[in-house]
Symmetry: C2
Subunit: 702 residues, 2 copies
C-alpha cells in the first residue's frame, strides 16, 4: 500500500470541526465533500450538534464505531493535540490538519508543531498539513473533495501538489478559464510529515495522475528528490514552480512556510537534472501541461507553420527560431504539391501562408500533405477568422488528421470570436489538440515537447566509470589526514587530478635549485613557477606565482626569489615544493570547474568561463553531483563557455568529449572520496592546439 | 490638414466594388460601414445594381455629383488602374485599395504596383494599401468602420497600424476577450504611398489615439522614423512588434509583403532609442497597453505587494526581482501600523500576506496605509477567492483609493471565478485598474511603467557637443582624399581619435631606427610596436605587431624585424610609420566600439566586450547614430561589459563618464564627417588604474 492511499482514497472520513456556520472552514469542507458527491462514509464530528446538513453528527471521533480511514481536522490549533490523541484512541492512522497557527506563525506555533510531530511519530500516523487546504481526488468511483475553498475544479489528469494552500484554491478557481483539469491535489501545508516526496512516491504509480504539477518553496531532501523525480519524469511529466528564486523572494518564502529556499542556481541545476520542467508562472505551467498532456513527442525539430495571416506566421517563425526549432524551407517537390492545393496568392515555402480567403479545403488538404511529408516533425496551425468562419471545422478536421498521423504533434493558435472556447466545449468536448490565442504560447509548446524528447533520449545514456589510480590518491589523503590538514597543497591536488586522468601541462616539483635545474630540463621553456604550500591557499595574493619565464637566467633568479620569499614569510617548512610547469601556449581561453557542497550531504558542480571574469561574466552552469551524461552535456552547452571552446580566431576548438570526460572524472572523484569537501580547477586552459589542460588545482577535505 | 484626415475622418465615402454577394469583400465592407452606423454619406458603386442593401448604387464614381472625400476600392487588381483614373476624374484625392494581387505576388503584380504608384503620384492622391484590410475610426461623431473582417472591435483609445491586414482582423476578433479597445486602425498593406510614418504623423496630434500599437515587418526610413517616434513617444506610448527578427522570419516577411526586414540588432537599438516598447507577442503587447493606458508613472521602483495567498506573493516577489524592481522590507513603523490592521497570522514585511481568511476591511485598510506611505511607489494587489468573495468589492475599494492617491500605480492580479471579468463589465464598466490572472503579467506592468518613467526622464538630458581639433582631422582626410585612399592608416586613425579627445597610451611613430630611438625615449618600456600602413588593413595577420618589449635590445631587434618584413612584402612605400606605443598595464579588460553604416544614410554604434571574444561572448549592444545620452547610457549598461568596467579582482573600476564621453565623441566624429563610412576602436583597454585607453584604431572612408 502506498503511504497516501487512505488519505487520497479513503472509504470513510471523519470531519472533526464540522460546522453549520456559513463561511466557516468546517462548513466549507462539509459542503465540498457532499457537493462533490463523496462515495464513502462521512462522519461529521462536533459535540454541539447531533446532525449537520442532515448528516448524523458525532460528539467525539471515538463515538464512531465503524473503521475510519481518514480524519480531517479543522479545529483551532490549540485543540489539535487533544484531537490527535482521540484519533489515536479511535485507531485512525491518517489525518489531514487544515488548521493554521503552527510553525508558520513562529513563537508558540513552533512549539505546537514540534509537539504535533512527536505525537504523529509516536502514534505512527500519516499527516497532511497542518496549515493546508486539504486534498482532492476526482477518481470517478470515489469523488473525494476534501479541501475547503470555493470552487470544485475542472476534472482532468493533472496531479497538483502545493506548498501554498491558498494557491490551490486560486488555481481551482481559474481551472475552467485556463482550460485545465485536475485528478488529484494535495495541499502540503507545513509538511510536518507528508511532503512533496511522499506525494511524488504516491503518484508515481497512480494512473489517474498523468502529469505532476508542483508549487514548491523548498526541497527538503534534494538527493532523494533527484532520484525519485528522475525516475518518475521518465514515466510522466513533472512541471514545477520553485519559488523564492530571488533573495527577496527567499525571504518572503521563509516567512511564509518557514522554509529556507536555498541557492537558486542549485535548484535550477537539480530540477533540470531530473528532467523536471521548471516553470516561472502559473500561466506557462498550465499551457505546458496542456501540451504535454495531449501531444506525442516529435522525432525532430522541424516545424511546419500553416496560417491564413502572414503576420502571425512570421511572429511564430521568429519565436520558433528563439527556441532553436527549425522552420525549414520545404523541398521544391513539396512546394509544387502544395501549390496544387492552395490559392495562387498563397506562399508555400514554410511558413505556408494560405492567405485570408483560404477555404476549409485549403486548410485540410495542406495540413494533411504536410503531416504526411517526411520533411516535417511538428505542425502549428494558425487560424484567424477573417472571411468564412472555419474555426470549428478546422479543429474537427485536425482531430481527424491527428488520429491518422498520431506521431506528429499538432498545436493550434486561434484568433477567432471570443465564444470559441465555449463552443469547443459543447461541440468538441473530447478534442485534445492544444489551443492557444497567442502564437508565441503555441510555439513554446513545441519547444517543450522537443525538450522532453531530448530528456528521454538522454536519460538512456550510461555514465562511464573511469579507471583511475586510487593508490595515488589514497596515499596523498592518508598523509594529509596524518598531518590533520584539510587543505591539500597545489602539488597534491594536481597529482590527485592527474591520477584521475585529467590532462595537464608538463610539471615537476623542486625544493632545491639542484632539483629545479633537473625539473626545467624535463619541462622546458617558457615555464611558470608557483609555490605549493600546506598553509598558503592564495598563492597569487602571496606573490607565489611567476609566469612567462623564458630562459635559464630568469628561471634561476625567480626560483631563488620564491624560495627566499617563503623563508622570509616563515612558511618554508610548510612548502612541499615549487612547481615548475610548462606554460600553456595561447592561454587566453580559460574555463573553470568547481565542486562545492550543498546541504548536508550533496555536492554540485559548476562549470563555465574562468579566469578573472568568472564573476563579471557569470557564464557558469550548475548541476548536482554525481553527474550524469545529461548533466555534463548541459554543463558544457548551456553557457557561452561553449563558444570559447569552439574555434576562436584561428585557435583550434577543443574536443568537447575531453571536456565532458574531465568533468565526469571530477564527479567520480567526489563520489569515490566522501571526505572531499570541495575542489576546483581554475583555470582549465585551452591552448592554441585545442588541448584542454588543468593548470591550477585546489582540494579541500572535510 | 493632416495627410490622413480625409481617409480616417471622411464625410463622404464611395465604395467601389460594393456587392450584394454574401461573403464577398465588397459586401462585407458595405455591411461593416452600415452596421457601425457611419455618420457620413455613403455611395456604393457597382454598374450591375441600382441599389444595394437599400442604399442607392451608382454605376461609376463619376456619376456621383457630390464631393467624395474617400474611395474604398475592392475590385480585382487588374481593374484597379482604370478605377483610379475614374477617381481622378471624379476629383477624389483619397483612396484605400483593399484588393490584393500587387507587389506581394511578385511577377506581374510588381508591374501593376509600379503603375499604381505612378498614377497616385501623377494624380497627387493619398493611398492606403493595396492589399489591406482597410481602416477603422471609432470617433463617436463619425463611426467609420471602413474595413472588412468579421468583428467590430471593442472601442477604446488604442490606434493600431499593421503591415499584416489579416492580423488586424484577428486582433479585432479577440479584442473583447483580451479586454482592449481601439479608437483607430490602419491596415498598411503594401505601403505604396501611406506607410507607418504617415500614420505616426497622423496620430501624433489626434487626441482620440492615446496609445499607438504597431505591427511592422520593415521600417522604410529609419532616420525619419527615429525622429518622429522619439517625438511622439514623449507624448503617448508607442508599442511595436517588429517581426522578421530571425533569419527564417525575415525570409517569411520578404515573401509576405515583399519587404526586407534588415538586421534585427539595428532595429532593436532603433526602437529602444526612440522609447518605443518592443513587443514579441500580441498577448504581451495588449497587456502592456492596458497598463500604459491606465496607470500613472511611479516616482521610484519600490513595489508593495499585498496578497491573501503566500505562494503568488512570492512568485510576484521573484518576478519583481527579475525586473529589478524593489520589494523593499517596510520600516518597523509601517510594519507596526500594519500589524494593527491585519489578522495576527498576517505577515507585514512586504510582501504583505493577509492570509486566506482576510476580510474586505483588511484589504482596504492595508492598501490605503501602503498607498499613503512614502516607502512605496507602486502597489500590486493579489486576490485569490478562497473564503468570502471580495473580488468586486476589492476592485471598487481600489478604484476609490486610486482617485485618492492618483500618483501611485495600482495593478491587480485575480484568481477568482471565471465569470469575474464579465461581472466587472456590468458592475464596474468604468473601472480602469489593470487586472490580470497571472501575477507575472501584473508585475511586468510595473516594469513597463518604470521603463517609461526612465525614458521620459532620460530624454530631457542634453547631448553635449565637444570641442575638438577639426583642423587635425581635416588635414588627414584631405591627404587621404588626395591619395584616393578610403582606408586610413592606424596612425592617421589614432591621430583623428586623439583630435576628438579620446584617451590613449603614449605613442610615437618612426620610419627609421634613429626616429625609433627618439620615440622610445618618450614612450618608455614596456612597449608595443605595430606597423601603420596604407595598404595592410589586418596588421596582426600580417605579423606586424609585437607586444611586451621590455628593453632596448629587444626593441631594436623587433623594430628592424618589422622594417625588413615590410621591405620583403614590398609594402615599404605604403608604410607611414611604425608605431611605438606604451604597453597598457593589466590589459585583460578589453572593450570594443564600432560605427558601421546601416541602410543608405544611417550609422549605428556597437559597444561591448572586445578582444578575441567579441564573437564568442556577443556581449555587445547597438544604438543608432548620432547617439543621445539615453543611447550612450544604454550602450554602457545593457551588456555584461558593465561588469568588466567595474572593479574586477582589485583592478580599479573605470570612470563610466569617460566611457560615455568617448562614445559620444566618436558619434560626433561620424556626424561631423559625413564621408566616414565606418570606424572602430578595438580594443579599448582598461588598465589596472581604471584608465580607459584607445589602443587600436581603424577608419574607413566612403
Amino acid at each position: 500500500m502506498r503511504k497516501l492511499d487512505k488519505i487520497l482514497y479513503p472509504e470513510s472520513v471523519a470531519l472533526i470541526g464540522a460546522s453549520e456556520k456559513e463561511g466557516s472552514v468546517g462548513n466549507e469542507l462539509l459542503k465540498r465533500i457532499t457537493e462533490f458527491k463523496y462515495n464513502g462514509k462521512l462522519y461529521p464530528i462536533n459535540p454541539k450538534h447531533s446532525s449537520i446538513m442532515g448528516i448524523k453528527c458525532y460528539a467525539k471521533i471515538t463515538d464512531v464505531v465503524d473503521e475510519i480511514d481518514l480524519a480531517i481536522i479543522a479545529v483551532p490549533a490549540k485543540f489539535v493535540s487533544g484531537v490527535i490523541d482521540e484519533c489515536h484512541l479511535a485507531q485512525v492512522h491518517n489525518v489531514i490538519i487544515i488548521s493554521s497557527g503552527f510553525k508558520e506563525i513562529g513563537g508558540e506555533g513552533i512549539e505546537l508543531e514540534e509537539k504535533l510531530k512527536n505525537q504523529i511519530e509516536k502514534y505512527n500516523m500519516t499527516l497532511v498539513g497542518p496549515n493546508c487546504l486539504g486534498v482532492f481526488n476526482a477518481d470517478g468511483k470515489l469523488n473525494f473533495d476534501g479541501c475547503f475553498g470555493p470552487t470544485i475544479p475542472e476534472v482532468g489528469t493533472i496531479g497538483f501538489a502545493t506548498q501554498s494552500g491558498a494557491l490551490a484554491g486560486g488555481v481551482f478557481n481559474i481551472s475552467k478559464s485556463a482550460r485545465i483539469g485536475f485528478s488529484q491535489m494535495v495541499s502540503l501545508g507545513n509538511q510536518t510529515d507528508v511532503d512533496a516526496l511522499s506525494v511524488l512516491e504516491q503518484w508515481e504509480n497512480d494512473d489517474n495522475v498523468a502529469q505532476i504539477l508542483l508549487y514548491l518553496e523548498s526541497i527538503k531532501d534534494p538527493e532523494k528528490f533527484r532520484k525519485l523525480a528522475t525516475k518518475i519524469a521518465t514515466k510522466k511529466p513533472i512541471l514545477a514552480i520553485k519559488a523564492g528564486r530571488s533573495s527577496a523572494g527567499a525571504k518572503a518564502a521563509a516567512s511564509h512556510t518557514g522554509s529556507l529556499a536555498g541557492t537558486d542556481s542549485y535548484f535550477e541545476g537539480l530540477l533540470k537534472s531530473c528532467g523536471v520542467v521548471r516553470e516561472f508562472s502559473l500561466r506557462e505551467m498550465f499551457n505546458d501541461a496542456k501540451v504535454l498532456g495531449n501531444c506525442p513527442l516529435p522525432k525532430g525539430k522541424r516545424l511546419a507553420i500553416i496560417t491564413n495571416a502572414g503576420g502571425p506566421g512570421i511572429i511564430a517563425t521568429d519565436t520558433a527560431s528563439d527556441y532553436k526549432l527549425e522552420v525549414n524551407t520545404f523541398s521544391s517537390e513539396l512546394q509544387e504539391k502544395l501549390k496544387t492545393l492552395t490559392l495562387p496568392q498563397a506562399s508555400v515555402k514554410n511558413p505556408v501562408d494560405l492567405v485570408a480567403s483560404a477555404s476549409m479545403e485549403h486548410y485540410t488538404n495542406v495540413c494533411e500533405e504536410v503531416l504526411k511529408s517526411d520533411e516535417v516533425d511538428m505542425l502549428l496551425v494558425i487560424y484567424l477568422y477573417i472571411t468564412g468562419k472555419h474555426d470549428m471545422d478546422i479543429l474537427k478536421s485536425l482531430e481527424q488528421l491527428k488520429k491518422k498521423y498520431p506521431t506528429k504533434p499538432i498545436i493550434i493558435s486561434y484568433m477567432t470570436t471570443p465564444d470559441f472556447f465555449e463552443r469547443v466545449k459543447t461541440e468538441m468536448p473530447n478534442s485534445t489538440i492544444p489551443l492557444f490565442d497567442d502564437v508565441q504560447d503555441a510555439v513554446r509548446g513545441f519547444k517543450l515537447l522537443c525538450d522532453r524528447k531530448e530528456f528521454l533520449d538522454g536519460i538512456k545514456q550510461k555514465t562511464p566509470i573511469f579507471e583511475v589510480k586510487n593508490d595515488v590518491v589514497d596515499k596523498i589523503l592518508k598523509q594529509a589526514e596524518k598531518e590533520a590538514r584539510t587543505l591539500l597543497t597545489t602539488k597534491e591536488s594536481l597529482e590527485i587530478f592527474k591520477a584521475y586522468g585529467l590532462l595537464m601541462p608538463k610539471f615537476e616539483s623542486a625544493l632545491t635549485l639542484a632539483q629545479a635545474e633537473k625539473a626545467i630540463k624535463k619541462v622546458g621553456f617558457p615555464c611558470v613557477l608557483k609555490i605549493s604550500s600546506k598553509t598558503v591557499s592564495h598563492k597569487t595574493d602571496f606573490g607565489g606565482v611567476v609566469v612567462g619565464i623564458k630562459n635559464k637566467a630568469d628561471f634561476i633568479e625567480n626560483f631563488n626569489m620564491l624560495l627566499n620569499k617563503c623563508r622570509e614569510a616563515k612558511i618554508e617548512k610548510s612548502l612541499d615544493g615549487i612547481i615548475v610547469m610548462e606554460q600553456v601556449k595561447g592561454s587566453s581561453r580559460e574555463l573553470v570547474a568547481g565542486v562545492a557542497p550543498v546541504g548536508e550531504k550533496g555536492h554540485q558542480m559548476m562549470f563555465g568561463i574562468g579566469g578573472i571574469f568568472v564573476e563579471a561574466l557569470k557564464e557558469v552552469a550548475f548541476r548536482p553531483c554525481p553527474l550524469t551524461m545529461r548533466d555534463v552535456d548541459a554543463l558544457v552547452s548551456s553557457t557561452k563557455a561553449k563558444n570559447i571552446m569552439g574555434e576562436v580566431r584561428g585557435k583550434k576548438a577543443v574536443d568537447i568529449n575531453v571536456v565532458k570526460d574531465s568533468l565526469l572524472r571530477l564527479s567520480q572523484l567526489v563520489s569515490d572520496y566522501k571526505n572531499i569537501k570541495e575542489l576546483d580547477v581554475n583555470p582549465f586552459m585551452i591552448d592554441d592546439e585545442g588541448r584542454f589542460l588543468t593548470v591550477d588545482a585546489r582540494i579541500v577535505m572535510k
